[in-house]
Symmetry: C2
Subunit: 127 residues, 2 copies
DNA sequence: TTTACCATTTACGCTAACGTCAAGTTCAAT
DNA sequence: ATTGAACTTGACGTTAGCGTAAATGGTAAA
């Protein structure tokens, strides 16, 4: 079984140890410990961290990310729990879809302006 | 010519006056004033604010947004300036494109997990 | 065993992006 | 003319997300 120390993670994700411990403090990850108290991170923690940093990249707040991570990671068993999870997940998918659409619109507008600048540049060069 | 007071903007964008004034303090908008000192916001400020709030939605920091807004709004005249603006703009478009692609990948993964949960739910209901 | 590094907890510090008074001015309606 | 809402400028307060320093303990190689 693959395990990592905290220093390995700081290199893998290019963040400080403080950052990793802070996420633990918020209850987003729960690494095991050696007898002497050193943190050991397994595969589960790794996948969580990947989700966390991806979430951060898109401007989600840490407590939003915490919700999402817990949701997609705790493997709900009860029927009620399953249904709740699915509903929540569908909403999150919808939110992401909206973000995507707005970003596409944003890009369209940016390209329009760029096009105008390009034409202006052509006109200037002709004279 | 359409103009607005600050209270109209707070309703339009659903933020506090403090927020609007803070953006002015950072030099992101520069509303005109009446003789008594009241701020008046015109069309130009409106479009800037739209850009600002859109940027915020995607997790850009205010000073990043400031750069982008100034860029696409100052209508550069010199040939050198134009070329610089176009290059910068193309880079921003590229960044946005990457964000879009990653978000799409994220959504794909979310839907995969959801699909697994749905199947699990079906299996539970059959028993 | 010493050197050098990696780990731990505790705790105070810092910046961004506002919130929240306070104290005064102006506007709009009665 | 008065009243109340909306505006103004300070200035201090707050929260998230870490940074950083201090004091201490474990570990691996020479």
């Amino acid at each position: 079984m693959e395990t990592y120390t905290i220093s390995v993670l700081t290199k893998k994700f290019d963040v400080s140890p403080r950052t990793i411990r802070y996420y633990e403090q918020l209850g987003m990850i729960t690494p095991h410990r050696t007898e002497t108290g050193q943190r050991i991170y397994g595969k589960k923690e790794m996948t969580r961290l990947v989700l966390i940093f991806r979430g951060k990249k898109f401007g989600f707040k840490l407590d939003e990310i915490k919700e999402m991570v817990q949701l997609f990671d705790q493997d709900p068993s009860g029927t009620k729990q399953l249904e709740r999870t699915i509903r929540y997940g569908e909403e999150k998918v919808k939110e992401v879809t909206e973000k995507i659409e707005e970003l596409i619109e944003m890009r369209r507008e940016m390209e329009e302006m760029l096009q105008q600048f390009r034409e202006k540049l052509r006109n200037q060069k002709e004279e």
